[in-house]
Structures are given as structure tokens and as C-alpha cells.
């Protein structure tokens, strides 16, 4: 960390307690398994501080840049709510949104905003021990954060879109933001997080999402990280699932020089189900890091992890996927797969399944592959008159599309496909 960042920390006396752990434990290093492949020299250049004020004059053609999801939209620029870019009018009944340093928007005529605010406080007070220094920094500098609260028995058709934009500020280069999602009993909703950035300088984002699913709640959660290639993106999501709740998460780790998606799911109630899938698609010298963890803490829960990586040039992909089955979590059904396609002999895929099974009645499968383009498939396509470049493109897109097709929203599928360079299919 730079001296400027240290100065920023020191000046925030009130944050002292929260930052104690950083001082005590220090920053993660290559010796920490979860940070083994991170570019620590780049991370050392990140500087943190409190969110500034939102700048209206930043040049960003928001509608041209983000997928058009036609639902409520909250845009944060460097962690600060940007009202002009956001759209929280005409919220459906049962949906409450609260923005940092801002009035609560509510779909109900009642004063449900206070519930949302107390939720934000809950999230904060829940942070007792930080997993690492970046989480502590997030707690220190992310402010109130955004809260999405779906009331009981509500089924939302349109996705809620949270857009986070990172750009350089005068005082520090890394911003922190926070999002809390609560879906009440029996409700269903879709939340899309789109992470973008502006500029060619080193800029960092440190984002934290906490998700709480009540009994029989259903959430579709899509995360698309596509910040510029000079930026660092550290994203962390923590999920707690009650009985019979269902989560489908689709993670796309595409941009950044170091793009990190950490996703931790705690299956706390019986019969909960989580289905995680994702794609990382790297080129240049990108490092795209997935740190996935599912804890089966209750009986008869189901978890799926299916991640795909496409790695070109000298990019590096990391999949560190844990399945932890607690004592007594019988009837656990857990599966994990990680498939990597290397397009260059300088690209690398590091895949590590971590299984810790402390219950008896458990069905658990995992598998990982690292391979190159199938020579037999290339030949097959070429015998059909398809030139090698086109054949290669078809096979790469076919591999990646199997992850893209997991996204339920067509507009978003198309947007991702275009970002991957095959929007013409």
C-alpha cells in the first residue's frame, strides 16, 4: 500500500477499530492460498479512501454501455449513488431499494424504508472477523451501501440492475462499495450486477455483496465484471440460504488486469439449493480468479458449481472451488466441474478443488479439465469448408456459449455474447 493510502487510513480516526486487523494480519500474500495467483505488486499500488461526491460530468454513455434490462436501475460511481444514471421510479410493489446517503425508494406506499435501513446496519454489525484486509477495507470505506429488499410473497418479473462504475478520483485510486440483497420468504427476484469502468489508469474496485434468502425464497444473481484492462476488480459475495431457498448465480469474469470473483454460499436451512456457474475469458496478461466456496451446513441441500475458462495469450485463470460438508449435513448432493480451454502455450489454468466432507450420507462429485482446441473437431469443421480461423472461432464460442446460455435474460446473453466477440449468432 502506498503512503498516500496509509495517510488516508490514518486520517480516519473513527475507523481505527475496523482497521486494526489490517495492521495485525497485514495484506494477503502469495503464501495465502486464496491469493496465491494474485498480482501482489499491482495490489500494492491500490490506495483506499472514503467515497467522494459523485461527478455528474464524467463521460460515460451509460445507455450505450450497459445491457438494457428495463427494470429498476441503481448506478454507483466509485461507490457513490449516481441519481441521474439511475432509475428507481415506478418500483413494483414489495420492492424496497435504499441507496447510500439517499432517501429510500419503495414500491409500497408504506414506510418500508426503515426496514431497509436496519438491514444495512445488520450487514455491518455482522462483520466481526474479516476474512482478509480487503474485506476490512470494504467495511471501512464503503459507506451505507445499496440495499435491495424484496418483501414476503413477492414475485418480481423484471431484473433489478445494480451498475458499479470505477474511475480515478483525486484522493485515492480504489473505491469500495457494498450491496445487500434480502429476499423474504416465498419471494423471487433477479438481481444483475454489472461492473464497468472508465479510463486507462490503474483503478481498483473493492465490492462486497451480502445475500440473505429466507425460507423458500428464490434469487437469480448475475455478476458481469468487465472493467477496463488496466483496472483491478475485487468482488466478494457472501450468501446465507434458509430452508428450501434457491439461488442461481451466473458469474462472468471478463475484464480487469486482475479480476477476482469470490463467492461464498452458506446452505444453512434444510433443502436449500444453489446452482453456480461462470465463465472467465482472459487474454493479454489478465489474471482472472474465481474463489468459490459452498458450505453444506444443513441436511438435504444441493449444490452445483460449473465454471469454464478460456485463456489466450499469457493470461492466467484460477479456479479455487471448495465444497465443505459439515457434520450432520446428511443427504448432501454436491457437484463441481471446472473446464479450461487454453488457446496459447503461454496461458495457464490453475484449478484446485477443495473438498472437506464431515458427514456420512453424501453424494459429491468433482472434475476438472484443462485442454486445447480439439484437433479432431477442427478437422471436422475444415472438411466442411470452414477455414481454420473461422473453425477456431466457432469452437471457442461454442465452449464459452455453454456458460452464456445459462443466463435466463436474453438481452444479457446477447450483451455478453457481443462482449465475447460473437454477437452475430
Amino acid at each position: 500500500m502506498t503512503s498516500a493510502a496509509t495517510a488516508a487510513l490514518a486520517s480516519e480516526v473513527s475507523l481505527e477499530a475496523r482497521l486494526e486487523q489490517i495492521a495485525a494480519a497485514g495484506y494477503p500474500t502469495k503464501r495465502d492460498e486464496a491469493w496465491r495467483y494474485a498480482p501482489h505488486a499491482v495490489l500494492d499500488r491500490l490506495s483506499f479512501g472514503l467515497p467522494g461526491t459523485s461527478e455528474d460530468e464524467i463521460f460515460f454513455e451509460i445507455d450505450a454501455q450497459i445491457p438494457a434490462l428495463n427494470g429498476p436501475r441503481i448506478v454507483l460511481v466509485n461507490g457513490v449513488f449516481h441519481e441521474a444514471y439511475s432509475d428507481t421510479t415506478a418500483l413494483p410493489l414489495g420492492l424496497d431499494l435504499s441507496m447510500p446517503d439517499c432517501a429510500t425508494a419503495s414500491g409500497a406506499a408504506s414506510a418500508a424504508g426503515s426496514a431497509a435501513n436496519s438491514l444495512a446496519n445488520q450487514v455491518d454489525s455482522g462483520v466481526q472477523l474479516f476474512a482478509d484486509a480487503y474485506l476490512a477495507l470494504n467495511a471501512a470505506f464503503s459507506g451505507d451501501g445499496v440495499v435491495v429488499h424484496v418483501g414476503p410473497g413477492v414475485h418480481l418479473d423484471t431484473p433489478i440492475h445494480i451498475v458499479m462504475i470505477s474511475t480515478l478520483t483525486d484522493t485515492h485510486n480504489t473505491s469500495c462499495s457494498k450491496l445487500a440483497i434480502q429476499v423474504d420468504a416465498g419471494s423471487s427476484a433477479t438481481v444483475v450486477e454489472t461492473k464497468l469502468g472508465i479510463g486507462s489508469e490503474l483503478v481498483g474496485a473493492n465490492t462486497r455483496t451480502t445475500i440473505s434468502l429466507a425460507d423458500s425464497a428464490t434469487l437469480d444473481h448475475v455478476v458481469v465484471q468487465d472493467v477496463p484492462s488496466a483496472q483491478v476488480h475485487l468482488s466478494r459475495t457472501e450468501v446465507a440460504q434458509s430452508a428450501k431457498s434457491q439461488l442461481r448465480a451466473r458469474l462472468f469474469n471478463l475484464g480487469a488486469t486482475y479480476g477476482r470473483l469470490a463467492y461464498e454460499v452458506h446452505l444453512a436451512g434444510e433443502g436449500a439449493r444453489v446452482d453456480l456457474s461462470g465463465l472467465y475469458f482472459g487474454s493479454g496478461d489478465q489474471t482472472l480468479d474465481q474463489q468459490i466456496s459452498v458450505v453444506h451446513a444443513a441436511k438435504n441441500c444441493t449444490s452445483r458449481q460449473a465454471f469454464r475458462g478460456v485463456l489466450d495469450d499469457e493470461s492466467t485463470g484460477v479456479f479455487n472451488g471448495a465444497i465443505e460438508v459439515c457434520p450432520g449435513a446428511d443427504g448432501t448432493d454436491a457437484m463441481q466441474s471446472n473446464d479450461n480451454l487454453l488457446l496459447s502455450n503461454r496461458a495457464a489454468a490453475n484449478t484446485q478443488p477443495r473438498l472437506e466432507i464431515l458427514a456420512d450420507d453424501v453424494a459429491c462429485k468433482h472434475g476438472a479439465t484443462v485442454g486445447q482446441l480439439d484437433a479432431e473437431a477442427m478437422y471436422y469443421l475444415r472438411t466442411r469448408g470452414i477455414a481454420p480461423d473461422e473453425a477456431r472461432r466457432l469452437l471457442i464460442n461454442g465452449f464459452a456459449d455453454q456458460a452464456v446460455q445459462e443466463v435466463g435474460i436474453e438481452v444479457l446473453r446477447t450483451w455478453i455474447a457481443q462482449r465475447l466477440g460473437h454477437g452475430n449468432e
Binding site: A375, Y379, D401
Partner: protein
């Protein structure tokens, strides 16, 4: 039309084709039969241009030297190979694949490309030929297809590509009698005065459905006998033993009873 002279092919120092000669005229259907390991598939892939073989001799199609061409250029020149084991390509839509293939050869020939709507009509017509359900167009290429579906998909591709020379490598392997009938009637519908075919098979059974003009016996990398359809019937009765010099372990299994005439 197709002229093969003294064709040799080796892989990893092992010679598989040892001077193969074959002339195929326009509109003719030639069957190549032979025991396992005689070089049938190697011959097919030498025509299609697979990497990894050391090839000698000449192959010309309408006077054009095929051996100097990449597989995609051979396809543009009119060569089509039906694979014994069609490759599964997960994630690649069958319709997109077919249209890309057709437009690739059209582009290479300097012809205009075919738009999505016009292509659909071509695809539907081809699908009717092989009695394929239309939802196959929206599935991934061969992914999860049964053996019969894969082979029908090969003939579908052939119908879309409309090749000058079709080489069908053991198209009958793994097919039940109903699938065999569908595949064979698709092939027969594609016979024409300007299209030649080489049908490679181990068993005579397929030739009950696709009646060849000529039958050749390939043994140990060379054509050892040629004749008309009756040669296939003779092989059905006697097996390849007469043509094979070495031990009995090279004698193929006899076909299932009842498959003959």
C-alpha cells in the same frame, strides 16, 4: 472425374496405403470393401486431407491436384467426407454450423452467400430427405445424438453441401435396420449424373440399399480385386479370407445372419 494413382500413405513410419489406384467417373457409385485394418478409413481421410499422413502418388478431381490442398479447399472443390465417427461439437448450433459451412464453400467459389431465411428452406428440404426432426437444427452439432442421428446428420450435411464427390466412410456402422434404410434412401436421392460417390463399408448389407456400379476389395493398402455388384455378394458368402494372406485373426466377423440377400 476422380483419378487416384499409386497412392501411398504412412503414419508414424507405418505404411498403410501401398500404391492404390482408382478411377471414379461422373455419376458413378463405387463401393470399397475390405477387412479391418486394410486402409479403408485412411483412404477416405487421405482424400479429405487429414493432417499427419505422409502421402505419395497423385489424387486429382476434374484434373485438379487435391493433395496440395487444405481440407477446406478440397471441400470447396467439391469433396465431402461422411465420417465413421462424426465429431460432437458442444455449444455450436447445428444450423449455424451448416450455414457457415455452405457459405464458406460458396465464398471460396466466388458465389454469393445465402441469407438465414433462404438457408432455412434448403435445410428443411435436406432434413426431410433424412427424416430428421426440425428441432435438430437448434441442437449442438452431434452433441448427445444417437449413433443413427449422427449418421443422418452426416447425410444432411451432404445434402446441404451438394458435393461433386462424396466419400462415405462406414456410414452403416452402428446403424439399426431402420436407420440404415433412412440413410441409404437419403444417399440414393442424392445420386446424380454429376455426383460421384465412394461408399466404404465392411459389410455387404449396406450395398443392398445403395447399389454400387463397381465394387473394389481393399486388402493391405491395395485394391486386390474389382468387379460389379456380384463381387459384393461373393464376399458376403466367402468373407475376405481368400484375399488375406496372413493368419486367421485378421478375418473379420461374419455379418449378422439375415442381412444378406
Amino acid at each position: 472425374m476422380l483419378c487416384v494413382e499409386q497412392l501411398t500413405a504412412s503414419i508414424g513410419g507405418t505404411q498403410i496405403l501401398k500404391g492404390l489406384d482408382l478411377d471414379v467417373g461422373a455419376g458413378e457409385v463405387h463401393a470399397i470393401m475390405g477387412p479391418n485394418g486394410s486402409g479403408k478409413s485412411t483412404f477416405a481421410h487421405t482424400l479429405a486431407g487429414r493432417d499427419g499422413y505422409e502421402v505419395g502418388g497423385t489424387i486429382t478431381l476434374d484434373g485438379v491436384d487435391l493433395l496440395q490442398m487444405e481440407p477446406e479447399a478440397r471441400a470447396a472443390a467439391g469433396v465431402f467426407i461422411g465420417f465413421q465417427y462424426p465429431v460432437e461439437i458442444p455449444g455450436v448450433n447445428n444450423m449455424y454450423f451448416l450455414r457457415t459451412a455452405l457459405n464458406s464453400v460458396r465464398r471460396a467459389r466466388g458465389e454469393t452467400e445465402i441469407g438465414a431465411r433462404d438457408f432455412l428452406a434448403i435445410a428443411y428440404e435436406a432434413m426431410d430427405l433424412v427424416e430428421m426432426n426440425r428441432d435438430f437444427l437448434n441442437r449442438a452439432v452431434n452433441a448427445g445424438f444417437s449413433g443413427g442421428e449422427k449418421k443422418r446428420n452426416e447425410i444432411l450435411q451432404m445434402a446441404v453441401m451438394q458435393p461433386r464427390l462424396a466419400v462415405l466412410d462406414e456410414t452403416d456402422s452402428g446403424l439399426d435396420i431402420d436407420a440404415l434404410r433412412v440413410v441409404a434412401s437419403g444417399v440414393n436421392a442424392l445420386r446424380g449424373a454429376e455426383r460421384s460417390m465412394i461408399v466404404i463399408t465392411h459389410y455387404q448389407r449396406l450395398l443392398d440399399y445403395i447399389k454400387p456400379d463397381f465394387v473394389h476389395v481393399l486388402v493391405d493398402g491395395q485394391i486386390v480385386e474389382s468387379g460389379d455388384y456380384t463381387l459384393a455378394l461373393r464376399l458376403e458368402e466367402q468373407g475376405y479370407a481368400d484375399f488375406v494372406n496372413h493368419e486367421h485373426d485378421d478375418v473379420p466377423e461374419r455379418p449378422m445372419s439375415g442381412a444378406g440377400t
